[in-house]
Symmetry: none
Subunit: 233 residues, 4 copies
């Protein structure tokens, strides 16, 4: 097992090798990302990926267990991006509503702006492929919903209300809204010029809807909403 003479010279070669291997891996993965996104998962053949990545079919299978594994690795990368980018956005908000807004903005500008095909794969192509893929997909959405729902619950607590379910529903609603907007405008069409307008109005809609729900709940939930800070001045 122990390689005998890993001299300096070897080590440099070994490093280069490792780097090249990593590059191939990435090259295949990115080719798959592009083709899955352009033509759909099930319409993409391993042959296609191999051809476009300029490797042999067997090479794809050297780096990935099977076609599904290719998809899983892509989802894994997406999951990482979602966690990183949205997580940071969330932390940058000063209050719950702002946190949700920041996340919404980051979703548009960073996630969809930088990784549109990952988003499409996550939303479209990885649906219904297999139970295992579904598990990974769900995990990403659950984490997102949980964060948004927690932020909403936090606001609700200021009003003395504890409506976990409503928080969840609203979080899901927001997710769906952002998702579709992103899908419609940032991908299908190249309305990139209007991104500013879109982001702005959607966030206005989001904040308006959010506050309306809070208002509604505070009226319904407590007979005397007493110290109700007017949430929107």
């Amino acid at each position: 097992m122990a390689r005998q003479h890993p001299s300096q010279a070897d080590s440099v070669t070994a490093q280069r090798r490792k780097r090249e291997k990593e590059q191939r891996y990435q090259s295949i993965l990115q080719t798959a990302e592009r083709l899955f996104c352009e033509n759909g998962y099930s319409n993409t053949k391993i042959q296609d990926i191999a051809r476009e990545a300029e490797v042999a079919v067997g090479t794809v299978y050297f780096y990935f267990r099977n076609k599904e594994d290719l998809l899983l690795q892509l989802i894994e990368a997406t999951s990482f991006n979602v966690r990183t980018i949205l997580g940071e956005a969330f932390r940058s908000g000063k209050n719950p509503v702002e946190r949700i807004e920041q996340a919404g903005r980051a979703l548009f500008q960073d996630l969809w702006g930088l990784h549109p095909s990952q988003m499409i794969i996550l939303l479209k192509e990885s649906v219904g492929v297999s139970p295992e893929v579904e598990t990974h997909r769900q995990a990403i959405f659950q984490r997102l919903n949980r964060d948004v729902a927690l932020a909403i619950e936090e606001v609700l607590e200021e009003y003395g209300i504890s409506e976990r379910f409503v928080a969840e529903v609203v979080s899901v609603a927001i997710g769906g809204m952002l998702e579709r907007i992103a899908y419609q405008y940032l991908v299908s069409q190249d309305r990139s010029a209007d991104t500013e307008t879109i982001t702005r109005e959607v966030l206005v809609f989001l904040r308006g809807g959010l506050l309306a729900v809070l208002r509604d709940l505070s009226q319904a939930g407590s007979g005397a909403p007493g110290k109700e800070k007017k949430p929107e001045s």
Copy 2:
């Protein structure tokens, strides 16, 4: 063997034949609807449909050109339902905002309540099957968006604003929101008991968001929003 001209004498028979033929057609179509929804379009084999519909494989091909045609017919039926149900709901609202609300309510209660599998096929299974299917899908969404967008434009005009694009964006946002909520709660889970709560809060969110956008536009769009009729007190 030679089929005779359907004389008056066997017109009753002919009618029965026609009725039976229509029943077969429907039976196959409904079986396909169920299986596409349960197992996904590409995981459903013509063999499966034939077996479950209790006909031979060849019979399926007698009534439908091919597998894609089955999907197209289903989308056609869905399109009809969407037009009918949402159209009626729209007309029942007394003002634009109410019209959108009524449509949202109808979407949940009637469309998803009565035809959940058609909705799933429209949203999930018919995605990326072929260009022709995509065209039909898009047509349905465009019609929906157009109606909502028109309603929004109508309100905007009251404020003297003409923002077609924003109207469209908001309409898309609303669509995505409703779609995902419906998908999450009315299908995957059997939270049927909470349907009331869900519908209520989502409509509150919708109205709140909508009004916020209107307010925002009226402030931004006109230097003197003077005669701003408070659209909802």
Copy 3:
């Protein structure tokens, strides 16, 4: 489900269809038998079977679940033949030793004479293919060994000895002997002329060995083998 007018005419057609289907099934199965035997199981491709049986690849899969199923069906047929032919031979013997001899004779003359390729598949080609195949294989041998072992035990009891294990060992030894002789002379070579000699000498060997074991056991097992009927006069 209920087919409506199964008139006499249809019934005749239906019967012919069924017969033709059965013929195809048999045709494919026999082609597989021949090729598995000639070239080995793993060297035989489904393509080969299809080509030689003059059907399409898909047709093979219409009649058999997969390649392994083809082998299992062959083993099943072999099992039936072994049960029938050896069972009858066994019953025709008047005493235990004769029963074993009759079975040995039937093995050579009937089983190997009539179904040599089935025997080869059972002994060679189906080895180590899969756990399920192994189970079926073992079942056949166990049944055979059990019958022979029971016959031996029966004789031993006459001597007042109860040596189950020895009976089993001897039964296995006999099986191996017959098997190899059959394989060597009735298949590989075409020494069919000498079948008579071979059968005769092998049965002499078998009987001699058997009686020697009985004699040995009766001497070892009982201090006073008293009423020892001279087993061979």
Copy 4:
């Protein structure tokens, strides 16, 4: 880089190299032996052998032409063992029958006792791999049969009989018997405790069968079997 002529100075190094090379060769061969035996020839991948032998795939191909060569080398080694061990046993017997018995005993105790996996590869895994492998396999069996057959012929000659063919048949029968017993009890099961019993009874059977054949032939072969030396009293 250019390999220098191995001068006297590095002859020690050269020897170590050679020793290490031989060790590698053996290590790979033994790993192959184990895996071929455990999982079957065709289920064993070169990758597996390399991994388990802790070398790279390419190294396997440095020492062996191809996968088949690995099998051939194993059969070669087996052939050597069979020649050595059975040859010695044969020579140790004082008369023909005893020689055969000694060989039978050696087969069980030495060959199967010391090299079970080689035996399994010879009997199971190397069957039907390729014509060349088949040739080597057959060679081993022919040598064995020839030795046994010669011993039998030798006895027959004492009776004044010359039945080459019968001698061969009996030799084949004995081979099959021993083979199967060994396979059944010394490998599949761990009945090692009963080895004594098995060996004893099988040899009794063998001797009994052998003598029966001799007796039979001497009666049939010579009108006056008068001077029949009772071969064993």
